[in-house]
Symmetry: C2
């Protein structure tokens, strides 16, 4: 029997998305289950198994046509197939999820964190096809990263390599980060970071901006992007600040792995050139001379609503 499909599972704090994917990156069928309603991971695995069996029954060949399952999860460890101390999940400690799911459904399972899954997805179906060396940066609520070296995700000694959102960009008096330290890239170049930058400017200056029409504590990065698109100078400046912070950080990442390209993914990329232009400028200003102008910066080519499933599913082609 030809194993022509894979299944991708993207586990988020509230919901888990599941899809059956073909070799071209088409999501043939998909569904969603709740993540946060199960304090006991075993009950979650039962639900997930049922959802996977149902989806598999809807495609040509059924479960026999499924090569395996790839899972993208917060704090996922590729080597061990575990989720370890994920702050936004209810399952505490170390959860051997890949093993539990594999036993439940009788298929092989690979698991990694969301950003690494996104990198594999981009390499398999997206902007990084054919690339052997690139860095994926996910700009969502937080900042994640997946580093590809020689065509393989860099997992490192313990499986947790690629925490570039937690490199320190502001050494002194940096913003408090969710990780408990200060000055992390994530505290600036994430959706939350953009909103914080907006609030800081509103609180510390008198500059006129249409952002003042929004209750200060409810301002989101989307509000800032929309205002910037309308020509609001403060909002444009916020994206300049964010982009320059990210671009300077990227220059250091290039000094590490000398990638062909850096792929940006996630909500903030909707700002388009408002973000990309200062990123590319600041990166090139900060690169060593022989890299200037040579490192591509691209946005993801994957449809955002499918991307998480695609990324996770791509892991299963290795099986």
């Amino acid at each position: 029997m030809d194993k022509k499909y894979v299944i991708g599972v993207d586990i988020g704090g509230q919901t888990s998305k599941i899809g059956v994917v073909d070799a071209r990156g088409n999501v043939l069928t998909q569904s969603v289950i709740r993540t946060d309603t199960h304090d006991d991971v075993k009950l979650y695995v039962k639900d997930l198994g049922a959802a996977i069996r149902l989806l598999a029954s809807q495609v040509d060949g059924g479960i026999e046509a499924i090569r395996g399952v790839g899972i993208g999860a917060p704090n996922g460890n590729y080597y061990r197939g575990t989720i370890e101390f994920a702050p936004n999940l209810k399952w505490k400690g170390i959860v051997p999820l890949a093993e539990l799911v594999s036993k439940e459904i009788g298929l092989p399972v690979k698991l990694t964190n969301d950003a690494n899954a996104a990198a594999v997805g981009e390499m398999t179906y997206g902007a990084a096809r054919g690339m052997k060396h690139f860095i994926m940066i996910t700009l969502g609520t937080g900042v994640g990263s997946g580093i590809v070296v020689g065509g393989y995700v860099l997992y490192g000694h313990d499986g947790f390599a690629g925490e570039l959102g937690h490199t320190i960009q502001v050494r002194n008096n940096g913003r408090l980060c969710g990780c408990g330290r200060t000055g992390c890239l994530e505290a600036y170049a994430s959706a939350v970071g953009v909103a914080r930058t907006a609030r800081e400017i509103l609180e510390t200056t008198d500059r006129p901006t249409i952002l003042r029409d929004i209750p200060r504590d409810s301002i989101t990065s989307k509000d800032v992007a929309e205002a910037a698109a309308k020509g609001d100078q403060v909002s444009i400046d916020i994206f300049n600040f964010t982009g320059r912070m990210l671009g300077a950080a990227l220059a250091d990442f290039v000094a590490f792995s000398s990638p062909e390209a850096i792929i940006l993914f996630g909500g903030l990329t909707k700002a388009g050139d408002l973000l990309k232009k200062p990123v590319v400028e600041a990166m090139n200003e900060n690169l060593l001379a022989f890299w200037k102008g040579k490192i591509k910066v691209e946005f993801s080519e994957l449809n955002e609503s499918d991307a998480a499933i695609l990324g996770a599913s791509a892991l299963a082609w290795e099986l």
Copy 2:
């Protein structure tokens, strides 16, 4: 005929060291030729070929017993076997040195930069034996690095990965670096950086220190280490500052590749715990919680006078 030996060549600005090495990392015989007396690289290659043939004739089996030649050179490119725009060599532009040497002596040749060669040497003969993921940091006149991922040196898309000495550690008002930018790790955590820190303290404070007995412009990192060993508090503080700057940088490097260990090599490591203690402290203070206390920091186990030859020679075992 058993190819039981390799040859290592370490090219420096003034001299090139050449040695025949066995599989255990013993340098059986070695010699030195001048690098800087030849404006024409072809004449240098003639000299190098003669030196290699002479050394090979001194070991059991002669040239027939030599598997190949490894070369460590400034700005060496592993993929292309070239030296590219090396500021401290007389040969300008791109020099296809591996090809020239291979034609001259009729043996296969591999070439990389000095710090990558040091990493391969440490993995083959030294403190990183058996390790698959580690980072080598060379603390000499400058700061070099070799990053090993999955048992292989990370060369990146263009062969120039691993320029960690040129990650920016001080974003504003940083020291001018030899690369033309400001705030690079190399401007602080190198032998030159230690001497600069000393001069800055002497110029900007009245603190008593035996370093004031030395003409200010001739103070070296060795002077500072000797004074610190005698209990001179200013000199101890200089190593604390240097070590903390390096340790904070290492925490960011760990977030990239999650290595088992970081190996420090070069002149500054002679300061021993004066350097290592603040490095380890600052690294752990700056690491994400799950890495704290888990990343080894070790000094190189290779005899410094042999290390450059050993590192270069180790490349040739891959042939």
